[in-house]
Symmetry: C2
């Protein structure tokens, strides 16, 4: 990914990895420290931390270091931009179907007009 990815880019690519989705699912239950989270994943800590950093960059999680422990939590409304985008897509799609329906209705009416001319 380039330097200036949009938040949507960051969000979707962050979610495109099973390790990262698992972290989010775990965090939905409540906060956890880095090592607590890492315990579930057979992976060296530095590798794991990279995933956490991506989640943080995508603003899906927030982290906070107290002493030597970094605590991670799910961001509130983490998925909002995604839902907004999905809603917009759905809106376009249904608009188009509506317009197609109109087209078919008009076509039908025109055919009827031809069959029974209105004079």
């Amino acid at each position: 990914m380039a330097k200036h990815d949009s938040l949507l880019d960051l969000l979707f690519t962050a979610l495109g990895d099973p390790t990262r989705r698992a972290i989010l699912t775990r965090l939905a239950q409540g906060e956890a420290s880095v090592t607590e989270l890492a315990a579930a994943h057979d992976m060296a800590l530095p590798s794991f931390m990279k995933h956490l950093r991506k989640l943080e960059q995508a603003r899906l999680i927030t982290t906070n270091k107290a002493g030597r422990i970094r605590s991670c939590a799910l961001s509130a409304n983490a998925f909002a931009p995604i839902e907004t985008w999905l809603d917009a897509q759905r809106a376009l799609w249904t608009d188009r179907l509506d317009r197609h329906d109109d087209y078919l209705r008009n076509l039908h009416r025109r055919r009827q007009d031809e069959a029974e001319p209105e004079n």
Copy 2:
């Protein structure tokens, strides 16, 4: 991405690129051929085709070749697995908040019991 990515992996990573999201937005308006779609993107055709292939692998679009023209269309319910996953996450999150509320309520009741013993 490895050879055996889950559909969710394919879906999310397919959506993690602005070119590909733009293609989907365009296709929400209706079918289009490869060159029609490519016209909007300053990119060589083979590069563009790679994006289409990823969208197809993620089952976000379907394509169909008639003569020398390949027509592309949005898949129906393309986003369903994503919505399902998001719903599940939301469910976990709200469950957890509910349980937290209960905990606070119980805590409060216990404190009141201590303040006003029930004999």
